[in-house]
Amino acid sequence: MNQLWDAVLWCLDPSNWQGPSGIGARSLEHLGYTALALVIASVIAVPVGWWVGHTGRGRGIAVAVSGAARALPTLGVVTLMGLMLGIGLAAPMTAFVVLAVPSILAAAYAGFEAVDHQVIDAARAQGLTEAQVLWRVEVPLGLPLLISGLRSAALQVIATATLAAYVGAGGLGRYLFLGLKTQDYAMMLGGSLIVVLLAIVLDLLFAAAGRAAVPRGVRVARQGLAQ
């Protein structure tokens, strides 16, 4: 328990926050990697997921790819890419994107599939074009699930982003590996605590976003049902 207390003290020590390798800088790097991975993964996974959900085709492949990608060990991808691409951010970022895609892809098409077909039928009956059905019905209704998928992906990435330091990039992983290799428990545990804290904050933010993303009409309907 002493060591955990030392770790907390390490986190609070102002001298550890200064400079390009201070806690503040490393945390920003860490969050930056997470954000970048999520953006890239979304650019890839969301259109594909929406297409699968909207047309109903290719679901088997999407599921299979998601499943296989989920099984890919991140350390393996980081070391493999590292050997091929050299030090720096490119190698770990590839691994993080691969890590994030399955959750986002699954949430994207699941969000569309969860939309009651009666609603889509009604929209078509009213004369909405396919594009309008997509953007005005399916996307808003599928948004909460998509956000929960993003949330799941974000948590996985922020937790694994510590591996970026293995191949010379930055992030909070630097404290982990340096503390581990030099038996500086305070640094090692302190770095871990900060990662955990950031993960929790991120989780709460996404949870709030998920609730806020429920379309007003659906929220009202749900409240009506609950009575």
Partner: protein
């Protein structure tokens, strides 16, 4: 590829170490999640805290957890106990929600019928609740199995034997074949476990076979939109079921 042929014993060693740490964790995760998920389902006040707690536990980064856990439970970092406990924690974090969701999805009519027939609560749980919640619990277990196998590799940077050591050693010596072997084996092991669980599900729950997606989707065409696919659910965490 010659590396693979020359190093089959090493590969076997690493594979065995990997299986020996991930399998117990998966089983333990299931066993621990059943009562916890039941608690979350049965007592509404506990539902929020338990599920949020599970979500937060999953948010714990793996490498730091492997390092912090020994401090809390008094083992060394490289102890098998440490790894299994850490992996179990993640498994439980993922599974509690599945168990709770599965139990939540049981039609009250079925429960009432069982009670009316004279089933005691424990027998009803085992003979009615669990089987009906089975498909959802199984889907959660599949996700846990895959993610546990994948997560087990991270410990290699701490010196914990697993397929992950093929990554660290291949990395140091620049042997791409070694890293690729590790990746392929990890994925293969995960997918093999997944398939085994699906088969087990079919054997244990033959009633839960769903019609193919095509049949269900055809029925969704205009005019017949009243059918829903009950076993194909997603939960709030965005963990989608992989239907068999």
């Amino acid at each position: 590829m010659r590396w693979i042929l020359d190093n089959l014993p090493l590969i076997a060693d690493r594979l065995w170490a990997h299986v020996a740490t991930s399998l117990p964790a998966i089983v333990l995760a299931l066993l621990i999640s059943l009562p916890l998920g039941w608690l979350a389902h049965r007592y509404r006040p506990l539902n929020g805290p338990l599920l949020t707690g599970a979500g937060l536990m999953y948010a714990l980064p793996s490498l730091p957890l492997f390092i912090v856990l020994p401090v809390l439970i008094g083992t060394g970092v490289r102890d098998a106990v440490n790894v299994v406990v850490a992996l179990t924690l993640y498994g439980v974090a993922l599974m509690v929600r599945s168990v709770a969701d599965g139990l939540d999805g049981i039609p009250p009519e079925a429960r009432n019928a069982a009670t009316a027939l004279g089933y005691r609560p424990l027998r009803r749980f085992l003979a009615v609740d669990l089987p009906l919640a089975g498909p959802v619990i199984l889907s959660g277990l599949r996700v846990v199995a895959v993610s546990t196998v994948s997560l087990c590799t991270v410990g290699a940077v701490l010196g914990i034997p697993s397929l992950g050591m093929l990554f660290t050693d291949g990395f140091q010596r620049g042997i791409l074949a070694q890293i690729l072997t590790g990746i392929v084996l990890t994925v293969a092991l995960a997918l093999a476990l997944d398939r085994l669980l699906v088969l087990a599900g079919r054997l244990l729950m033959p009633w839960a076979r769903t019609p193919s997606r095509r049949a269900v989707r055809r029925s969704h065409r205009p005019g017949r939109s009243d059918q829903t696919d009950q076993t194909d659910q997603t939960d709030q965490a965005g963990q989608s079921v992989m239907p068999s």
